[in-house]
C-alpha cells in the first residue's frame, strides 16, 4: 500500500502462458487411424515415430529425469494400441496419446508414493496480522526469458524445479507444462479439485522462491 501515486497500467491476465487447448479432431489423423485399425504393416511404427518424441518428453518431465522413461513410453504405446478401438476421434490423436503417456508416468510414480515428499511452507510468503507482506518484495531485474538463453541459467532453473517436493513438482508440471485442467490433475492424483488447485498454486510460489534464491542475478 506504499505507492498510490504512480500505479502502472493493470496487466492483462496471463492466459497466453497456458498451453494451447486441444482444438478438436484433426482430419490429418484419419489416414493413420484407418491404417492402424486395418492392421496395415508399418502403421504402428509410424505412430511410434510420429508421436513418440512428444510422449517421451512428457514422461521424462513428470519423472523428473529420463531414467526409465523409455519403459514407461513402451507401456504407454501398448496401452494406446489396446485402447485404439475406444478412441472416438473427438480429440486430436496427439492429445489422446499425450494423456495416455501422462497417465502411464503417473501410474509408475504411484508405486513410489511412500517416498517422503517434503514441506514447502518455508518457501511461501509470510504476512503480518493485517495481511501485508512481512518482507518487502522486489522486482526481478532481468527477464528470465532473455537470461535463459544461457545454459548455465537453464541448468539452475532445472535444478530449482527438481528441488520442489515431488507431489508439488508433478502438480506444477501437469498444469503449467502438460496443460491439464484442474479436474484432470485431481483425477490423476486422486485428490479433490480444490486440493489440486492449491497444490499447483503453492508449487508455483515455491518455485518462484527457489528461483530467486538460485538466480540472484535476476534481482536488482
Amino acid at each position: 500500500m506504499e505507492d498510490a501515486e504512480a500505479p502502472p497500467a493493470p496487466r492483462a491476465p496471463d492466459t497466453a502462458a497456458l498451453p494451447p487447448a486441444d482444438a478438436g479432431p484433426d482430419p490429418g489423423d484419419a489416414p493413420l487411424l484407418a491404417a492402424l485399425r486395418a492392421g496395415e504393416p508399418g502403421a504402428f511404427e509410424t505412430l511410434v515415430r510420429l508421436h513418440g518424441p512428444r510422449m517421451r518428453a512428457a514422461i521424462a518431465r513428470l519423472r523428473g529425469s529420463p531414467a526409465d522413461a523409455d519403459d514407461i513410453l513402451q507401456d504407454a504405446f501398448l496401452s494406446a494400441f489396446r485402447a485404439l478401438g475406444r478412441f472416438e476421434g473427438r480429440s486430436r490423436l496427439s492429445t489422446w496419446l499425450h494423456r495416455i503417456a501422462v497417465n502411464a508416468a503417473l501410474m509408475r510414480l504411484r508405486g513410489h508414493r511412500d517416498e517422503p515428499t517434503g514441506d514447502i511452507e518455508a518457501l511461501l510468503p509470510h504476512f503480518s496480522p493485517y495481511g501485508a507482506f512481512t518482507a518487502a518484495q522486489r522486482a526481478w531485474g532481468q527477464a528470465p526469458e532473455d537470461a535463459l538463453e544461457r545454459e548455465e541459467l537453464r541448468a539452475q532453473v532445472r535444478e530449482a524445479i527438481a528441488r520442489l517436493p515431488e507431489n508439488y513438482r508433478i502438480a506444477l508440471v501437469l498444469r503449467d507444462i502438460e496443460g491439464l485442467e484442474q479436474a484432470e490433475i485431481a483425477a490423476n492424483l486422486g485428490i479433490s479439485v480444490n486440493a489440486a488447485k492449491i497444490r499447483v498454486h503453492r508449487a508455483r510460489q515455491a518455485l518462484k522462491a527457489l528461483l530467486e534464491q538460485a538466480l540472484p542475478g535476476l534481482r536488482p
Binding site: 518428453a57 513402451q74 504405446f77 507444462i177 498454486h201
Partner: protein
C-alpha cells in the same frame, strides 16, 4: 498527523511495524473526514496482500469474475509489493515453461522404436 504522514505510514501500518501511538494517529486521520485519505484507507482495507496471493492463480489464469477482478486491479494499482510478487510469479512460470518445454524433443532412438514395435507384436 497530516495527509503526507498518513500516506507515508500507511504501508508500515499494514506490515505492523508502527508504534502503538503512530497506529492510533493513522486511524485517527483516516476517521477525521479527510476525503482522499478516507478513500485510500477504504481501498487499503478492500483486499489484503494475503487475500490477493491466496487467489493469485485465479487472477493470472483469468478465472476471476469481473467484480472480483476489479477489486484485484485496484489493490495492484496501490501495492508495489503485490505488483512485484505477481511479476515474479508470472516470470517463474515462464522460466519453467521455457526450460522444460524445449527439452526432450529429439527423434526417437532407433532401438527404442524397434523395442516398442517388437513388444506390440509379442
Amino acid at each position: 498527523m497530516n495527509c503526507d504522514d498518513f500516506r507515508q505510514n500507511l504501508h508500515p501500518y499494514f506490515t505492523d511495524t508502527l508504534s502503538v501511538a503512530l497506529r492510533r494517529d493513522v486511524e485517527a486521520h483516516a476517521a477525521s473526514g479527510c476525503g482522499p485519505c478516507g478513500e485510500l484507507w477504504a481501498l487499503a482495507h478492500e483486499l489484503s496482500c494475503r487475500e490477493l496471493v491466496e487467489f493469485l492463480d485465479d487472477y493470472v489464469e483469468a478465472r476471476l469474475p469481473a467484480e472480483r477482478l476489479a477489486v484485484f486491479e485496484r489493490h495492484i494499482a496501490l501495492c508495489g509489493d503485490c505488483r512485484d510478487y505477481i511479476a515474479g510469479y508470472r516470470r517463474s512460470r515462464g522460466a519453467a515453461r521455457a526450460v522444460l518445454c524445449d527439452e526432450g524433443l529429439a527423434p526417437m532412438p532407433e532401438e527404442l522404436v524397434r523395442a516398442i514395435v517388437k513388444a506390440r507384436k509379442a
